[in-house]
Point group: C5
Chain length 99, copies 5
């Protein structure tokens, strides 16, 4: 999964009939410092994520393994909202090698 | 899914027999400002998208989950035409950090 | 699918038994101006493509959806030979924004 | 599979119901000299990997082929802890071509 | 499939139970001139490839379509050893456009 932030929504009237009712979120990828990268995807929401929240996105066929996305033509799903992101080891290493 | 714009069509006579009748669109990837990026794919149309329209493209096995693409050797499908693309949060953030 | 040009062939004696008889083509990726990019893949031929021809390549599990590749360990297949590639819209836009 | 190092953990309360109990690790990709690259993924642990350990990560649908991840919306799994990583050939070649 | 060279081996004791007995090879990607690129993967061997040999690697779900990898959490397999790699067309084109 990749780490992302919900930054917007996509509206579509003319779409695959199986997608009616699915919420399409715009997710910007985050780096390890939680800064936004340039890349983004449009993903179906399966956990009620809101704008500004930090989430995990599963892609490919794995994106179809939720009750909301099963058998639908979607290749990205928000399947978790992140509470805490602990990279203490990273910070420890950086402190040791800092110069 | 990624955001793209329909910029053309591919014609092919000699192709997998299951693809007869499928419309093959050339889709250029868009960034968050809806500017065209260099990358593009050829995708099957499943929603009647026309040249110049902004669309969503699903890739991989998910591209075979529409009535038009099921069990066919295609790895990209246009499965939605975009009506509105709301990234107000992004703009808000940029305004705050603008210098 | 991506757009490519057949530029060569790979021969292999020691290979998965299901691949006996499959023709392995070297396909170089093309940009929108049909110029060759650096990236290339080795793909199974399912449509009788010859050297120099412009083709479409499907990748991933979709590459196994032809009669020639079904259930085989291949992740790229040539599934169409391109007759015509129409990006008139792109050219129109470029003419308008040319400076 | 790609080579990575476990550098942290992600906590999530609001997530797909099938993910309850799965441990989510932050894995940074390594190069051939075992130096950390910029890219990282969040992967489910299936082998009891701890922080600082060097592991292999399988992605895509292959990430769902363990007892812990089957049928779940996850696209990356830690499926092996690396004991030894032997690239003696690489070193030999570099010694020969060194100038 | 991509073209690669076997440059080493990975040993792992603690791994998914289905991987016991599978040989894990380190494969470095090659360009069209058979020069090694920076990128590499760890792939299961299904054809008895040895160090220094030039091989083809299939990735994703296609990597699970050999007798050795079926239903296992692996996303890359060596499924052919390359005997000959013919890109005469490429050389011809380069000769013509050389300046």
């Amino acid at each position: 999964m990749f780490l992302g932030k919900v930054i917007g929504t996509v509206w579509s009237t003319k779409k695959d009939e199986n997608l009616v009712g699915s919420k399409l979120l715009i997710i910007r990828q985050l780096d390890l410092d939680l800064k936004e990268k340039q890349s983004f995807v449009v993903a179906v929401d399966s956990v009620g994520a809101g704008e500004g929240e930090i989430v995990l996105v599963a892609t490919g066929s794995s994106a179809r393994q939720t009750n909301i996305t099963r058998n639908k033509p979607v290749d990205a799903v928000v399947m978790a909202i992140v509470d805490k992101f602990d990279i203490s080891l990273k910070k420890k290493l950086e402190a040791e090698t800092n110069n």
